[in-house]
Amino acid sequence: MFGDSINLEIHKKVRRFHFFLKSLELKEIIDIIPSFRSCLIHFDGESTSFQKLASFIMEREPAAASVDLPEPKTYEIPVSYGGEFGPDMEFLISHLELSEDEIINIHTSVIYTVFAVGFIPGFPYLGILDRRLSVPRLETPRFKVPEGSVGIAQLQTGIYSFDSPGGWRIIGRTEKKLFNPQEAPYSLLQIGDRIRFLRL
């Protein structure tokens, strides 16, 4: 755990630690899931133990400072806001007391960072959302949110990379494909990348 909030400085440490872990090429590590404030390490309990692996990694951790980091990329994501593509836009307008134009202007004015990719393949958790757009999740998640839907929840915004259940408030939709299982690295967006939404 590198901190306890959604914060770019904490996330930079997570990203660095993630690439440091990868650089160790340990066969005992089955998978790594980096997110806002931590890296989850899934290890093989047959060939090592938590204590052994943790001390091995922590001994080498000072080398993380000099690990090579890939250069983050920047993408533009065109979005159709509101209407049939943004079923929660009306809720935002009444809850936030802003007009649709104001909401779209605020949402498109920030260059977001990809803090994590997951829950489903290719879904980017993007931050940091302008506080003026912060809304709670739906009390009862939707059974199916259509692929491409752009949602917001608290200080995050994200894009549903596949049809999936979801509880974020949906304000628009993009046609940009976020995940292609046929071609590495599979996900358009990687942690640390930056994106900007464009109004269609």
Partner: protein, 315 residues
């Protein structure tokens, strides 16, 4: 060639899992009963990551276009080869044109079917497993349907064999699951945690699928100062999350990140049982330490390895 005559309630291609791409949200989608899957591969003389069919429900039937050895493990089923009853957890020869039929499931929920000749399928992101939600992997990214045909990889017969009764786990409810504490266990009142881990009988809800299993019982109580959700963070198969309504969800193998408090994780050695929880079953948790969980897993792995050393008995 394998031809599906009836697909049961749900049948999908699985293997030991899709790992190494958790950083872009790719979940394992692996066989939910890892032990049964490993024993299936052992019975058929396969590698540890050969594709197999994971089936839920009776009314499953298939035929083969060549002589082959077939095996079934996992849930105990009432199965027939051309009306001849079959032993559970066994490998048996199937001649070209014969029909394997699973009529009913007698104990457990998911069973595994495989063939000595293997199945000619393509690995997607280094795995044969089906990701049903994202429609990739397995057989055309979807569950098997009546009429589907899958080619064998090789023309290879195996030996008939059966697994001794003592190595077939009980899948009868109530299910006792050993758990290790999770990172947000302190979000709940001590009374709630005690009840959760010592004696509360949970009932498996009908709201369950390959992503997660919801349980029903008296809701857990969050401490007044605790948040009802966390900053989204990585989760492993077997993680027990408590959403705002206080009722647990056991996460299976289709999610990499979660946003609810992680009260506990089911010990890896007991995760195979999660494949056999079905609506209405009772579940009890028992809290153990990390070291005990590690040694339980080690000894389970040793059991699997020991199978590879003993000679097969004829069936």
């Amino acid at each position: 060639m394998i031809k599906i005559i009836n697909s049961g309630w749900l049948s999908i291609i699985i293997d030991s899992g899709r790992y190494g791409h958790g950083a872009v949200g790719v979940p394992p989608s692996s066989a939910l009963d890892h032990y049964a899957y490993c024993i299936l591969n052992h019975l058929l003389g396969h590698d540890r990551d050969a594709p197999a069919i994971e089936v839920i429900g009776g009314n499953f039937a298939l035929t083969v276009g060549a002589d082959v050895t077939c095996a079934i493990t996992g849930a105990k089923v009432k199965a027939f080869l051309n009306d001849q009853p079959l032993q559970p957890w066994a490998a048996f020869p199937m001649v070209k044109g014969s029909i394997l039929k699973v009529q009913d499931v007698e104990e457990g929920f998911r069973y595994y079917v495989g063939f000595s000749g293997g199945m000619n399928l393509e690995r997607i992101i280094s795995s044969y497993s089906t990701n049903m939600e994202c429609r990739f992997g397995g057989f055309k990214g979807r569950p098997l349907q009546k009429g589907d045909e899958i080619d064998f990889k090789d023309r290879k017969m195996g030996e008939p064999a059966e697994i001794p009764e003592r190595h077939i786990p009980s899948m009868k409810p109530p299910h006792r699951l050993r758990i290790v504490e999770g990172p947000e266990i302190s979000y709940f009142t001590p009374d709630s945690v005690k009840a959760f881990a010592e004696g509360t009988v949970f009932t498996v809800s009908s709201r369950m699928n390959r992503t997660g299993i919801r349980l029903e019982a008296k809701p857990l109580t969050f401490r007044t100062e605790a948040d009802m959700s966390i900053i989204s963070e990585g989760i492993l198969p077997g993680t027990i999350q408590i959403p705002g309504d206080g009722v647990p969800i056991i996460m299976l193998h289709e999610r990499t990140i979660g946003g609810y408090a992680r009260i506990a994780v089911v010990a890896k050695a007991d995760q195979d049982l999660l494949a056999h929880l079905k609506p209405g079953d009772h579940v009890l948790f028992e809290r153990i330490g990390m070291e005990e969980a590690q040694s339980l897993w080690k000894s389970k792995q040793e059991t699997i390895t020991s199978f590879k050393q003993i000679n097969r008995r004829p069936a």
